[in-house]
């Protein structure tokens, strides 16, 4: 299986007034093409930060200290390190090659713009040349028509439009075009780009199974239900057919029935669009349902990575075992994990889980255990093995 993303030694720290928060320590992670990788763990263990690091969107005062994130943009090119490429480079990747779906759909949508505006914004940004092509075809079709009264009047405008759209295709960032798109009224000549983006928006909204997408494009976020909002956010993330989708607890704030629909939708789209998904969740049930492989995170580092069936049938790390035991089952008392999550300002030395671990040894208090492959594809960071 080909690799899509390879994270090595990712370390993120937050420099606060109270001290340095070690949010992520030496995270190593591989994500393959066309797979769904689940990242599970408690709240605050660094799942979302891992995702934000991939897009280089760590909020201040956080800083990526070291590590590399290699991303295979396509088969022809060498993988790029997302942490070292230029600001423009990472912006071109955000939203087009890698996009993200957030936990709270109502917060992720801007309340003052319509759904249509917000989705076509991504399309206008990343698929400009394609839009130019479509617009050019539309203008050419108009010009080819037999001359009538209206077409004789509009012909000069159409010719101007054709010139502009050719420019959009050939030199999208030329100064001339930038000037045109800034001038009042003159920029209206580029209206067909927006029109085409709107058409793509409607078809993408159809993809995410929204009834009456035409109407939805004119609606504002507050007019939609939570499930519809999340579908719109997913449509926004998928608008440029990204190779890699990061879904950060996309169903946590939704009803169970809607959650099932969204999971089904993500699964279907992943197969159809041949993309990979990094699915972040704290719900082990959801992870079992949708993921191919799962990584378990605790206090800023990964402790176990395995195929989903392996992990549930044969959990190795004491934390994974405790986490699985904590899932409530019918007719049984849930077992909570003793102790509490370590203070990120002063994490315990050695293995971060050792204060809560029942089988902790002397070594666990002194040295950080490294990831080892115990069985094919089953990695664990624990001294017990």
């Amino acid at each position: 299986m080909d690799e899509l993303l390879r994270i090595r030694g990712l370390t993120v720290r937050f420099y606060t007034y109270d001290g340095v928060v070690q949010a992520l320590e030496n995270v190593d992670l591989d994500i393959n093409q066309k797979e769904t990788f689940g990242l599970v763990g408690e709240t605050g263990c660094g799942k979302t930060l891992t995702a934000l690091s991939i897009l280089r969107l760590i909020p201040p005062p956080g800083r990526i200290e070291c590590g590399s994130i290699c991303f295979n943009i396509d088969d022809e090119n060498e993988p790029v390190d997302l942490l070292t490429i230029s600001e423009d480079g990472i912006r071109a990747i955000r939203g087009s090659k890698i996009s993200m779906v957030f936990q709270e759909p109502s917060a992720a949508l801007n309340p003052v713009y319509t759904i249509g505006d917000q989705i076509s914004e991504v399309i206008l940004l990343h698929r400009r040349q394609e839009l130019g092509q479509r617009a050019l075809e539309a203008v050419n079709a108009l010009l080819a028509e037999t001359p009538g009264f209206i077409s004789t009047l509009a012909r000069p405008i159409w010719l101007m439009e054709r010139k502009l759209y050719q420019q959009v295709i050939q030199a999208p960032s030329s100064l001339w075009l930038t000037i045109i798109s800034r001038i009042f009224l003159v920029k209206r000549l580029l209206w067909r780009l927006k029109d085409e983006a709107q058409k793509i928006t409607i078809s993408v909204l159809g993809e995410v199974e929204i009834p009456d997408p035409q109407r939805l494009t004119r609606q504002y976020p507050h007019q939609l239900s939570g499930g519809m909002e999340q579908r719109a956010v997913i449509a926004m993330a998928l608008a440029c057919s990204p190779k890699f989708l990061i879904a950060d607890e996309p169903t946590t704030s939704l009803d169970v029935t809607i959650q099932a629909q969204i999971l089904e939708l993500l699964n279907r789209l992943k197969v159809e669009w041949e993309s990979s998904i990094l699915y972040i969740t704290h719900d082990l049930g959801v992870a079992a349902e949708i993921c191919d492989r799962v990584g378990v995170m605790y206090a800023g580092s990964l402790c176990e990575i395995a195929k989903v069936d392996d992990l549930y049938a044969n959990p190795l790390h004491p934390y994974t075992k405790a986490l699985l035991a904590a899932v409530p089952k019918l007719g049984e008392e849930p077992h909570s994990i003793g102790g509490s999550v370590p203070d990120p300002l002063e994490p315990p030395p050695g293995c971060r889980f050792h204060p809560r671990c029942s089988s902790a040894m002397e070594k666990c208090r002194e040295q950080v255990p490294l990831m080892r492959e115990l069985a094919p594809g089953h990695f664990v960071a624990c001294y017990m093995y």
């Binding site: 897009l55 955000r94 957030f102 917060a107 992720a108 309340p111 991504v122 940004l125 007019q223 939570g226």
Partner: protein, 348 residues
């Protein structure tokens, strides 16, 4: 379509508010006895002998609702009484002094609002960087300067030290004579606009020269206020989830700040901007007094000092109407910016 419906709804709402304003002012008027109220219509000492006649004429001994009807009828026909401070009917006094204040407001308000919003969002976008510290320092200084002190200092430097570079009052004596002569047509009473309409460059330059100092005085204090408000509102908006979404879309920082954050951050700033505009049109007593700039504020202050009751009440009525109209404009702008206002919070 929804916007139009909102506008109509909002326009109808003005009627009860204006009715309330008129009731309030009429209520204050009722605190005076009929004789006292009759004396308000007196324009000449000789009329004092016929107070009974005036009481009868204006129905001042009638029941309250009849009196209210008579009074409101008078108000609608522009009869607000006699302003003894400037020896002319109140309505004429207003028409006389409003253009001066309006001219001040038309220059100061855009500077305050646009400048404050621009600087505030710049500061927020560059939080804790040099630009932010500089604007914040300037805002604290501006906000702490008392108007009277700043005005006097400006006069000392630009009128005193540079001997008459930027003078007080509205026009120099020579230009004042010219403006009131037959060859200069006063279309609006706003000297700058009239000068442009008359094609008279000297008057234009002279009136602009006189406007500089009062406009600066007003701008410095109020701009600092709007700027600080915009900065905090913008910071709040920049921390919202949709900003992270916008960045994750691959938008550049400029678009994120200007398109996604600023529009949301504008909402609280708009309210305050409306009040600041209304407050300036209302007359800025201190500024107008320091610069001997005879506007509404100066007139209202003079009337209050000389117990000129018709003028004070007329001014209060104008005040009420002005705030109602500003609120209307602010509400309409709200609705334009925020769809949740015009569409109402619909049930999910």
């Amino acid at each position: 379509m929804e916007f139009r419906a909102y506008v109509v709804r909002r326009l109808f709402l003005i009627i009860p508010v204006l009715f309330g304003v008129s009731l309030l002012i009429f209520g204050v008027l009722q605190l005076f006895s009929p004789v006292e109220r009759a004396s308000l219509y007196v324009t000449d000492p000789r009329q004092l002998a016929h107070l009974d006649h005036i009481i009868e004429l204006y129905g001042l001994d009638q029941p309250v609702w009849t009196q209210y009807g008579t009074w409101i009828n008078q108000v609608i026909h522009g009869n607000l009484g006699w302003s003894k401070v400037v020896s002319m009917p109140v309505i004429d006094a207003m028409a006389n002094f409003l253009p001066a204040t309006l001219e001040l407001a038309l220059f100061a308000a855009p500077l305050i609002i646009v400048g404050g919003i621009f600087l505030g969002s710049k500061a927020a976008a560059h939080k804790d960087k040099m630009a932010d510290h500089a604007t914040r320092l300037a805002a604290i200084i501006g906000w702490s300067l008392p108007t009277f002190w700043l005005g006097l200092m400006l006069l000392m430097v630009f009128y005193g030290y540079f001997s008459g570079l930027l003078p007080p009052e509205r026009l120099s004596t020579q230009m004042n004579v010219l403006v009131h002569s037959g060859s200069f047509i006063q279309y609006t009473g706003l000297h700058v606009i009239d000068a442009i309409l008359n094609g008279n460059v000297p008057v234009l330059l002279d009136s602009l020269r006189h406007l500089v100092l009062p406009v600066i005085t007003l701008t410095v204090v109020n701009l600092a206020f709007i700027m600080r408000l915009m900065r905090s509102s913008m910071l709040e908006s920049l921390g919202k989830g949709y900003i992270l979404t916008a960045r994750a879309k691959g938008l550049d920082e400029n678009t994120v700040v200007k398109k996604h954050a600023r529009r949301n951050a504008m909402i609280p700033v708009l309210t305050v901007s409306g009040y600041i505009f209304a407050a300036i049109v209302n007359g800025v007593v201190i500024t107008e007094t320091i610069f001997n700039y005879k506007g509404l504020g100066w007139w209202a202050w003079q009337s209050a000092v000389h117990l000129d009751i018709p003028s004070v009440l007329g001014f209060a009525l104008f005040n009420g109407i002005l705030f109602v109209l500003t609120n209307l404009v602010v509400d309409l702008l709200y609705a334009r910016i925020d769809p949740r206002v015009r569409l109402g919070e619909q049930a999910r």
